[in-house]
């Protein structure tokens, strides 16, 4: 009995030594270890799914120069700090934290690991070794709005939204501006569900919007329930984050989709080359971070062509969703003709454009 224990211990010691030796020899051609912290399960569509697609693309492009690992469903706050620190202590050289609520934990851990590069999505705090990145989601929203504005018959659109923060408001406003750029009679009804993720509630809100006359619905929440509700009710839908046409083959007009892969690959390359610098990235359609999902075949060819044209316009700067004249809900002009909202003004947006119904909750 005793002998067997000694034997086991001995084997373990040998194995341990071997692994140390192995890791030392491997050190020479060590790949860059890249960690990803996700706020929700990856699933098949949605915010985290798109980030994971980005991770896979980075792997594909850099091959064995990188080695990635992700941890999903990490709650924002204290728990995330533990996960981020674990990555840093495990020798990860580059860590992506992909949710707004990871901001303070990321900054905190980054202070203790000055040699590790951190990239935080959607935040506003940077440090020497912490960069931030976010996409111009609103550009996709604007284009999707154009499609919706052309397709609506009732001239009422429904928007299921999570929380009244600038990012969501930019989306609502851009969608409304897009719709009204081709169909000034349109109004957009917004229902706040006060949750990022509750399919039942999202469904209920969509049903209510449809009952109140909306014949095109979209959402800024994480599930596909709104698209499904539209499919069942026989109205149009516009997806978000991912192409959701599978959940609404007939109803899904298009979706504003996110594509992080290009950026992730670039950051990893910069870190490997030693040229990485902290920056505040805000990429959009031009850089390919935002794309419009393939349009529903029911969208007439001339509308498709017009949308493509507008997309090109955004790429070369001729079109900007927030180019004046823009009026707010009270009919006051907030952006003068020809002027364009600055990134600073976009980042702190806290008002509805004309055409959005209901009062903004504050």
């Amino acid at each position: 009995m005793k002998l067997r224990i000694f034997y086991k211990l001995g084997m373990r010691a040998v194995a341990g030594l071997a692994s140390i030796v192995l890791s030392l020899t491997a050190f020479a051609a060590d790949p860059l270890k890249v960690g990803f912290v996700y706020v929700s399960p990856i699933g098949d569509a949605g915010w985290t799914y798109q980030h994971d697609q980005g991770r896979l693309e980075m792997e594909k492009r850099l091959g064995d120069k990188v080695q990635t690992k992700y941890i999903e469903s990490v709650p924002e706050g204290g728990e995330s700090e533990r996960v981020i620190r674990q990555f840093a202590t495990d020798g990860y050289g580059l860590i992506f934290t992909t949710s707004f609520g990871y901001m303070n934990p990321t900054i905190k851990v980054a202070k203790q690991f000055p040699n590790v590069v951190f990239e935080h999505a959607t935040g506003y705090k940077t440090a020497k070794n912490v960069g931030t990145y976010v996409a111009r989601f609103y550009e996709g929203r604007y284009l999707a709005g154009i499609v919706a504005g052309k397709m609506t018959k009732s001239n009422v659109a429904g928007y299921v939204a999570a929380f009244p923060i600038p990012e969501v408001l930019r989306g609502i406003n851009a969608f409304t501006l897009g719709m009204r750029s081709v169909n000034p009679a349109v109004t957009v009804k917004v229902i706040w569900v006060n949750s990022w993720f509750d399919p039942g509630r999202e469904r209920e809100a969509a049903d209510v919007l449809i009952a109140q006359g909306a014949d095109v619905v979209t959402h800024h929440t994480d599930s596909t329930a709104v698209v499904q509700a539209a499919e069942e009710a026989g109205v149009w839908s516009v997806g978000y984050h991912s192409d959701m046409s599978k959940y609404g083959p007939k109803s899904h007009l298009t979706a504003a989709t996110h594509h992080w892969g290009n950026y992730y690959a670039k950051v990893a390359e910069d870190v490997l080359a030693g040229t990485w610098k902290s920056s505040n990235i805000w990429w959009g359609i031009k850089e390919g971070m935002i794309k419009l999902a393939p349009l529903n075949p029911a969208v007439p060819a001339e509308v498709q062509a017009y949308v493509m044209e507008q997309e090109m316009g955004i790429k070369d700067g001729a079109v900007h969703p927030f180019r004046g004249p823009i009026k707010n809900q009270d009919g006051e002009e907030v952006v003068a003709a020809g002027a364009v909202l600055s990134d600073e003004e976009l980042a702190t947006m806290e008002w509805y454009v004309e055409g959005v119904e209901g009062k903004l909750p504050k």
């Binding site: 929700s40 399960p41 699933g43 098949d44 569509a45 469903s73 429904g158 009244p164 009804k189 917004v190 229902i191 706040w192 569900v193 006060n194 949750s195 993720f197 509750d198 399919p199 039942g200 509630r201 469904r203 209920e204 809100a205 049903d207 209510v208 919007l209 009952a211 109140q212 599930s223 596909t224 329930a225 499904q228 069942e232 599978k246 959940y247 119904e357 209901g358 009062k359 909750p361 504050k362």
Partner: protein, 306 residues
């Protein structure tokens, strides 16, 4: 008029998962077992039902699986608390955590599947009546089933000997035992029934209401069901009122938002909870009725030897 019918219809849909889960928990608690694992049983029921429906293409097979899976999860709870007399509160909480995790694992391959939900049954002639037609005679089959469950449970608890026995076990297990009944066996049945009903609530969510599977899709409905049982002072009719009230106020506050009424949405979001609690507390405020209806041995482990 259409709007009102629409609101009422949506209310039925929103309330039904709660009806199933809360009625099941009520039966379990009436036998003296407090099972805080409703959320866990519900979500395991939801994922198993969805998986089987997706593989077999039969929604009904899915519903049956949900029932079995809910009861199976409850069996685990029963073994812990009834056979091994573990603490019911701790075991129930553990069951919820376990259920949410397990369901995520089982559901890994099903997050991308889109199902067509259950079609409504239109009862000939009656469904063409104005107002009551769409409201009562053209619903989905599980909604009819929830009405049947309510009637059957009420009848069982208050009009049958077996129901009396179940309540007796919840009030005073010692007396039931001294009359020669097996407290543990009766409690097992009540717990399994509670699990089956929670599973059915999960099936309603994943197969009828939002026919998709995503992690944590029950989003706390199991906890609301639990609270409903207490606030309804363990009475089936009040559980129904509470569930529909909760569903109804949820829908109405969305309508209020959609019409652009100037009330902060955060406040509106709390309304379903507030309204349900206030109404149920008001109709159940008599302290004697609470004492009369609360099972006296609720949550206490039962040691046959003592």
């Amino acid at each position: 008029m259409d709007t009102i019918v629409g609101i009422l219809l949506a209310t039925l849909g929103a309330g039904t998962p709660l009806v199933f889960a809360a009625l099941g928990e009520l039966v379990s608690e009436k036998s003296g077992v407090l099972n805080l694992g409703v959320e866990g049983m519900m979500i395991v029921g939801a994922v198993c039902g969805f998986a089987v429906a997706a593989e077999s293409g039969s929604l009904w097979l899915g519903v049956i699986t949900s029932i079995v899976a809910g009861a199976g999860t409850a069996l685990l709870f029963g073994v812990l608390t009834l056979t091994f007399q573990a603490n019911q509160v701790a075991a129930g909480l553990a069951l919820t955590i376990f259920g949410v995790g397990l369901s995520a694992y089982i559901g890994l391959d099903y997050t991308s599947v889109a199902l067509t939900g259950m079609a409504q049954i239109h009862i000939p002639l009656l469904s063409e009546l104005p107002i009551v037609g769409p409201l009562l005679f053209s619903l989905d089959p599980l909604l009819y089933l929830s009405f049947v469950c309510f009637a059957a449970i009420t009848y069982f608890l208050y009009r049958t000997k077996a129901g009396l026995l179940l309540r007796a076990v919840g009030e005073s297990p010692e007396s039931a035992l001294s009359l020669g009944y097996s407290v543990i066996a009766i409690r097992y049945m009540a717990v399994l029934f509670g699990g089956a009903m929670a599973g059915l609530g999960g099936a309603y969510l994943a197969l009828v209401y939002t026919p998709l599977w995503v992690e944590a899709m029950t989003a706390g409905r199991g906890w609301i069901a639990l609270a409903l049982v207490v606030f309804a002072t363990w009475r089936p009719a009040r559980v129904m009122i509470g569930a529909y009230l909760f569903g109804g106020v949820t829908i109405i506050q969305f309508h209020v938002q959609g019409f652009g009424v100037d009330i902060p949405s955060q406040l509106l979001s709390t309304l379903p909870y507030l309204a349900t609690i206030v109404v149920l507390v008001l109709i159940s405020r008599d302290i004697n009725t609470i004492r009369l209806n609360a099972p006296a041995s609720l949550g206490k482990a039962y040691h046959p030897s003592v």
